[in-house]
């Protein structure tokens, strides 16, 4: 196997949340025009709409804590599926919210972009 999908998934996820927590306006680089984001019940397509949605989320400070991270290679072209569960700390709220998120990563040159991003708070 030429690419270690485990490392890619781990590095990507850390980078993604780090960027999200520091300045989520910068996440646009990770999406493309065909990318889709499902954030709870909103569905968005394309870098611009996705970043707008993420930027407009009604909180100032946010911190992601990863609880589990799992990944599988998903196609002969090198796609990777990443499944994450974790906790979300919003503003000064002490009680974290739990979420699960699936990223479908597609290779592009020597890097990857997010083709599909499905975020869900775990209510049930």
């Amino acid at each position: 196997m030429s690419v270690d999908f485990n490392s890619v998934a781990t590095e990507f996820t850390h980078f993604y949340y780090q960027t999200f927590d520091n300045d989520r306006n910068q996440l646009g680089n990770l999406y493309r025009e065909q990318s889709m984001l499902t954030f709870e019940t909103s569905q968005l397509q394309g870098t611009k709409d996705i970043v707008e949605k993420l930027a407009s989320l009604p909180f100032q400070k946010v911190a992601h804590r990863i609880s589990t991270l799992d990944a599988q290679p998903a196609s002969p072209n090198g796609d990777i599926l990443v499944m994450v569960t974790g906790e979300l700390l919003i503003d000064d709220e002490k009680n974290p919210q739990r979420y699960s998120q699936v990223f479908h990563l597609i290779p592009e040159g020597s890097s990857y972009f997010v083709f599909n991003d499905i975020f869900r708070l775990n209510y049930s």
Binding site: S67, D70, N77, E93, P96, R120, N122, Y123, S124
Partner: protein
């Protein structure tokens, strides 16, 4: 080549009726008028007729339709025009399967083309036997049909055996809409001549094979799970009924999942069956890219979990050599469970949490690949019950196309009960420790792709096991009936209540709500953090006016784009379908 790159099938056998266009009887005449120049092909016997026709289509870019094998061994088929025929003749001598194809134009002795008559005759026959208002196709006693016999149809055995395949092909091209077929009195010994019936008539509801010569149950195996709408089936007057009738019934029920009536006897409780097939989730908790995805994924999940809970090893047929399965355990405790510990023992040995394990060998060992490894892991997981139908509000789901593989990604979240210890639990792993069975939460992500035979394959399967939802008591009807549950407790708002930490009160009972008149201050902080002040005001207003609980109130607002009037309309429209536990 890997099967992952091959997904070019379709989902017709996923339990829906296929993607057939509506029937158009006018096609019949157009159909006869086109495809009218007969050609004959010799020297093709190195492979099957289909291979040869496909080869010609690829190589010469000419479609030969309605091909059949003539008594002289040549293939006879039709092309659309004299020009196409001429072009095709230029390819005569092309190598195919180790021989040279000899292609000629074909004429029948009396000057008209005999094959054209065959198509025309079958088309005419179909027209006379098809009753459009009732969508009924009467194919009873075809060998006694005067017109067909006049054409010398059943003079030889080979013609007889080709009649039904030809008929299916023509009916399929004509796209006639058929719900009922009578195939009685045709001396059928097996289904070999009518194997393609499910593909030709995917919406078939009633089928009679009465008074044939079917003697073995296994002949029906080729239609297994293919006639997904079949409601009534008649096989009386066949030697097959000399077998043990109970076995016959059970086998037939297994092969035809929606069959209600066999030989006039009711086998299944229809209302209950329909109830079970109904989509088990609240529409509010689902996201689908489109209707097709909705149907396919809900069918898949319903069937998958039915087997997962009752007969897990049966699911292995969906996993192939390159299929992957992994489990990870999320032990972070989101809320105070009164000190209750959740026992994850059965999952921990196989847990593949990349944020916890660093050895790359271990990472690969815990990614189960292929049927055997996956079966082994399935057996090590406890038996379970997912109440998708009884407690649909405990689940949510999202599904999207995975175009590159012609597949679908399905995410499911929810809570399940453990109902039994694993089939295989290795004492050396667990020692003498007694593992408790309890309720757990999960997230699962599937990638399903079509298999070459029209079924499906689970290519990827990732499972997370975690703590169950905080307000699980809210799920039981008893809790719902009690008067006190107030905004702040529904599953949509898992934030622990405002009470000081460490008080150890039962979840759901702590919110200390001003029960009847929620104000903005009573909204849980996590909800407040997700919406702006105007939205908070709207939510409170909606909660007051509808008496909905917070979960449903929030969903109503969100689905109404936070517009008051839309909320009112949507609420009116759905008020009758809302469950009791939608209210405070």
């Amino acid at each position: 080549m890997s099967y992952r790159g091959r997904g070019r099938g379709n989902y017709n056998n996923y339990g829906r009726g296929g993607f057939q266009r509506p029937p158009n009887p006018q096609n019949i005449n157009q159909y006869v008028n086109s495809n009218s120049i007969p050609v004959e092909i010799a020297g093709w016997n190195g492979a099957s007729m289909e291979d040869c026709i496909n080869f010609i289509s690829r190589k010469c870019r000419i479609v030969v339709s309605n091909a059949n094998i003539e008594p002289n061994g040549n293939i006879k088929g039709y092309v659309k025009s004299e020009k196409e025929a001429g072009d095709l003749l230029n390819w005569s001598g092309v190598k195919f399967a180790g021989q040279s194809l000899k292609i000629t134009k074909s004429f029948s002795s009396n000057g008209t083309n005999k094959k054209g008559n065959t198509i025309e005759t079958i088309t005419e026959f179909l027209k006379t036997r098809y009753d459009e208002p009732s969508k009924m196709l009467n194919l009873s006693s075809v060998q006694n049909d005067a017109t067909l016999n006049q054409q010398g149809f059943f003079a030889s055995i080979s013609t007889t055996s080709k009649f039904f395949p030809a008929l299916m092909k023509i009916a399929s091209d004509l796209k006639i809409d058929v719900e009922s077929i009578d195939l009685s009195n045709n001396n059928l010994n097996d289904l070999n001549t009518i194997t393609t019936l499910p593909q030709t008539f995917p919406k078939l509801i009633n089928l009679s094979l009465m008074n044939n010569n079917l003697s073995k149950l296994k002949v029906f195996e080729i239609w297994k799970n293919k006639l997904n709408y079949l409601r009534e089936f008649i096989i009386s007057g066949n030697p097959i009924l000399n077998n043990d009738l109970n076995v016959v019934k059970l086998e037939i029920m297994r092969l035809f999942p929606r069959l209600i009536i066999l030989n006039g006897e009711v086998l299944r409780n229809e209302p209950k069956l329909l109830e079970n097939l109904k989509f088990p989730f609240n529409s509010q908790s689902m996201m689908f890219q489109d209707n097709d995805i909705h149907n396919i994924s809900t069918n898949f999940i319903t069937n998958f979990y039915n087997l997962w809970d009752t007969n897990r090893s049966n699911l292995l047929q969906l996993y192939q050599d390159q299929s992957q399965f992994s489990v990870s355990v999320d032990m972070s405790n989101p809320h105070d469970l009164n000190g209750q510990q959740i026992d994850f023992t059965y999952y921990l040995t196989n847990s593949r949490n990349l944020s916890r394990i660093s050895a790359s060998k271990l990472k690969m060992q815990k990614l189960f690949t292929g049927k055997d490894q996956i079966a082994n892991c399935f057996n090590q997981l406890p038996k379970s019950k997912h109440e998708l139908i009884e407690n649909s509000h405990l689940f949510s789901m999202e599904a999207f196309k995975y175009n590159q593989l012609n597949g679908i990604i399905i995410n499911l979240h929810g809570t399940f009960k453990e109902t039994g210890h694993p089939d295989v639990s290795e004492p050396k792993k667990y020692g003498r420790k007694k593992v408790s069975l309890m309720e757990k939460g999960f997230d699962r992500c599937f990638v399903i792709i079509p298999s070459p035979d029209g079924g499906m394959i689970v290519a990827s399967d990732m499972l997370v096991i975690r703590y169950p939802t905080i307000f699980k008591s809210d799920a039981s009807p008893v809790a719902n009936a009690s008067p006190s549950p107030a905004p702040g407790i529904p599953p949509v708002a898992p934030s622990p209540p405002v009470a000081a930490p460490g008080m150890n009160q039962t979840p759901g009972m702590t919110a200390a709500p001003p029960a009847n008149s929620p104000g903005i201050n009573d909204l849980p902080p996590d909800i407040k953090s997700m919406i702006n002040v105007t939205q908070q005001e709207l939510l409170v207003k909606v909660l007051l006016e509808t008496n909905l609980n917070l979960q449903y109130g929030y969903m109503l607002c969100e689905q109404s784009n936070w517009d008051y009037q839309t909320c009112t309309i949507n609420f009116k429209n759905s008020v009758n379908s809302l469950p009791l536990n939608a209210y405070r």
